[in-house]
């Protein structure tokens, strides 16, 4: 339509309409394949899932409508406070830690040092490695005979039972998550850092700012959009944590004694182990609601600190 207006050729009202609908038609044709996939595999399951959350359904007998009972169960189930607490802990540790370390790494990798390409690739490798493989390696590293405990013993510290002690198990898995997903943020930050114009930094330098002040007042504000993006994605990703818990807890039980069970893991257990599809769906929607609220809060807050968002 915008195109039609700036066109110099005088056109009749009718031909203009025809042109724009034709363009729109082809536009929709081009997005149709993607739309169909989204509708078939995202929207429809979402709607069906919402329906299931109001039923008692074990897959074997036909679903029975029970209203809001599954949502009420969220408040009476003795396990749900544990999994919510574990999940928030997971998120609270992994998101800030990931942001801090990856920002530091990105700044380091933005310097002119030897073997830069190697390091940039190296940090990205864990991101693209299957989490089953990552888990298997870390279960070994953290075991009683693993290299981490060997090193601790060498400096005179007693072995720590990283994965089987409820005090450390969740933290250990969370830190592995940070290690695994670091590379993703590093790449984003690196791109953002390289977008910061040298002129601005030079100008600041001419004005007498030292490196620290340049970073604080020039570089950092300019990469806040990237920090915002990675923070939002990090919160969403960490609250949905599942694969590392599944793979690293002994016998895939989210233990010891529920210490490492996250919401995502508990949803899986209810759906595919306990055959409680309705409750699993209700848990999923509760999680979705939490994510939605947190994302909206982050979105509203962005004008306070994100550059260019006023």
């Amino acid at each position: 339509m915008a195109q039609a207006q700036i066109s110099h050729q005088p056109k009749t009202f009718l031909s203009r309409i025809r042109k724009s609908t034709q363009e729109a038609f082809w536009g929709y044709v081009f997005i149709l394949p993607a739309m169909l996939i989204i509708i078939a595999f995202k929207l429809v399951p979402l709607v069906v899932g919402l329906g299931i959350s109001f039923t008692d359904w074990n897959l074997l007998s036909s679903p029975e409508f029970i209203g809001l009972q599954n949502y009420a169960r969220l408040f009476t189930d003795p396990v749900s406070p544990i999994v919510f607490k574990n999940t928030f802990y997971y998120s609270l540790i992994s998101v800030p830690l990931n942001l801090l370390i990856s920002l530091g790494l990105a700044i380091a990798l933005n310097q002119k040092i030897k073997g830069l390409a190697f390091f940039r690739t190296a940090y990205y490798i864990p991101v693209v490695t299957a989490s089953v493989a990552v888990s298997a390696v870390w279960v070994w590293l953290l075991s009683d005979f693993g290299i981490i405990n060997q090193l601790l013993n060498a400096i005179g510290v007693a072995s720590v039972n990283f994965l089987q002690d409820p005090k450390y198990a969740l933290t250990s898995i969370t830190l592995v998550d940070v290690w695994k997903n670091l590379g993703f943020n590093v790449v984003i930050f690196l791109a953002a850092l390289q977008d910061v114009p040298d002129e601005l930094r030079d100008a600041a330098r001419v004005d007498g700012a030292n490196e620290r002040r340049i970073f604080r007042h020039v570089t950092l504000p300019l990469i806040t959009p990237s920090i915002f993006f990675t923070a939002v994605m990090g919160v969403i990703g960490s609250l949905q944590a599942f694969d590392l818990v599944f793979n690293m807890s002994l016998k895939h039980e989210g233990g010891p004694a529920r210490a490492t069970s996250t919401i995502g893991f508990y949803i899986w257990q209810n759906a595919f182990k306990y055959s409680k599809m309705g409750y699993a769906a209700a848990l999923s929607f509760a999680l979705m609601a939490i994510l939605l609220v947190l994302t909206i809060i982050q979105w509203k807050m962005r004008s306070k600190w994100v550059y260019g968002e006023k």
């Binding site: 724009s20 739309m35 509708i39 075991s143 009683d144 994965l163 089987q164 409820p166 010891p256």
Partner: protein
């Protein structure tokens, strides 16, 4: 603009409609499922001669992932040769996601006619009415059940109905590493061993061989937790499953004995030890002296263990003087949505009968529930293999008990094992753990009753 919005809406609705249409039959098929029962098989005794061969769909996880040279496919092939009037659409699936897939097919209305099931799968499906009670068909066709071990039939009953025919069973015995016993100068364990002797022997065989403060060689290994309940005669809930009974002194004593093995006497590897190497590989590596395990270990242990000689005996008497072992089993069951019940039953009789069992047994998979096959072939197939005392598997069948069942057993079991995890870490006492477990289990029992 308006027009194109409409277009999008229409195409979206169209796509949605197509999807819903694809899903619709799934819901429909639930109805006949409930009504089709025995009559189909009972009334149609007529000769099925020159007619078109009927096709039945069968899914199976037997004989598990190792699937000894395709034993189960061979069983099906033998059936098709013997019954040209029935074609089998046979699908072999890995055990890992088997039950999820099966439940999804039931929900989607594409369930097979016959499926292999383990004990807890079968009980869950029977409780929700997804399986056919075979008793009317057994009666009307005069099928003789006395060829099976009675205990293997009992496992697959629910409320007096027979919901499956056993295809294989196994139980747990105790293997022992002769080299470690010889080195310690101890006599080999036998079937008279009581609990105190067992624990004492295990203590003598538990060693920190290189003196670094961590134990390298364990006297024994902890069994799956339900054993410690069964071996004192305790149950997780009362007979009509209305009340959790784990806080009874019997159950507490049983689980205390388990916790003591790991925490007090330290004769069995803890979760921490097992994180580095599981007990199966520890035994293979000569790090466990007395290892309780079932016949599924026979083929691998015969292949892998070269460094030491080993044999087997029954599990010891429990602390209260009872002798118990696990009874595990797999059955073939018929789904109530099946429209080919007669053909399905013919199939089940063959694959769980003497001929099918024979093929499975010859492949070395577990133990045949058909007495003649087990007694004739199992021992013969074990000649020249270890354990030399293979008869122990048949002897143990005498006092084997199966794990308790409940429509929501996997949930109940997770609650109990979660609490026992804490008890095994020493962060909670056994009585407190059982109290917490009962607090969580009682609501489940109450819900299931209604």
């Amino acid at each position: 603009m308006k027009k194109s919005n409409l277009f999008v809406l229409l195409s979206a609705l169209l796509a949605l409609g197509m999807l819903l249409a694809a899903c619709a039959p799934a819901v429909k098929t639930e109805a006949p499922a409930a009504t089709t029962e025995a009559p189909a098989a009972a009334t149609t005794e007529a000769p099925t001669a020159a007619a078109e061969p009927v096709t039945i769909k069968v899914v199976s996880f037997l004989t598990y992932d190792e699937n000894k040279e395709g034993a189960e496919a061979a069983v099906v092939k033998a059936f098709e040769a013997a019954h040209p009037e029935i074609k089998v659409d046979f699908q072999l699936l890995p055990y890992a996601d088997y039950f999820t897939s099966l439940k999804t097919w039931v929900a989607g209305g594409t369930a097979p006619d016959v499926a292999s099931l383990d004990l807890s799968m079968l009980q869950e499906m029977a409780a929700s009415g997804s399986l056919v009670d075979l008793n009317p068909m057994i009666k009307s066709t005069g099928y003789d059940l006395s060829a099976y071990y009675q205990s293997t039939l009992d496992m697959f009953q629910n409320n007096g109905g027979q919901y499956g025919l056993p295809a294989s069973y196994s139980n747990v015995v105790m293997y022992y590493n002769k080299k470690l016993f010889d080195a310690a100068g101890l006599p080999y364990p036998d079937d008279k061993m009581d609990w105190t002797t067992f624990v004492d022997t295990a203590k003598k065989l538990t060693k920190d061989t290189n003196g670094d403060g961590t134990i390298e060689q364990f006297g024994t290994a902890k069994l799956w937790w339900p054993y410690y309940m069964l071996f004192v005669g305790a149950t997780p809930f009362n007979a009509d499953a209305t009340q959790c009974t784990l806080t009874d002194q019997k159950a507490i004593d049983g689980f205390q004995a388990m916790v003591d093995l790991v925490l007090k006497d330290k004769v069995a590897p803890s979760a921490k030890d097992l994180a580095a190497q599981d007990d199966w590989h520890m035994f293979e590596g000569g790090r466990i002296a007395m290892y309780p395990i079932g016949p599924w270990s026979i083929s691998e242990f015969n292949d892998v263990i070269k460094d030491f000689d080993w044999d087997a005996t029954t599990l010891p008497y429990g602390p209260t003087g009872e002798k118990v072992t696990f009874l595990f089993g797999n059955a073939y069951a018929m789904l109530s949505s099946s429209k080919q019940q007669e053909a399905a039953f013919t199939f089940m009789k063959f694959v769980t009968g003497a001929e099918g069992d024979q093929i499975r047994q010859d492949a070395g998979f577990e133990i045949a529930p058909i007495k003649s096959v087990a007694e004739g072939s199992f021992l013969k197939s074990m000649e020249g293999k270890k354990p030399a005392n293979a008869k122990v598997f048949l002897d143990s069948a005498e006092f084997a008990k199966s794990v308790p069942t409940h429509a929501r057993w996997s949930e109940i079991a997770d609650i109990i094992s979660g609490q026992l995890d804490s008890a095994l870490l020493g962060t909670i006492t056994v009585p407190d753990a059982m109290k917490a477990a009962c607090d969580a289990i009682n609501p489940i029992l109450a819900e299931t009753k209604k």
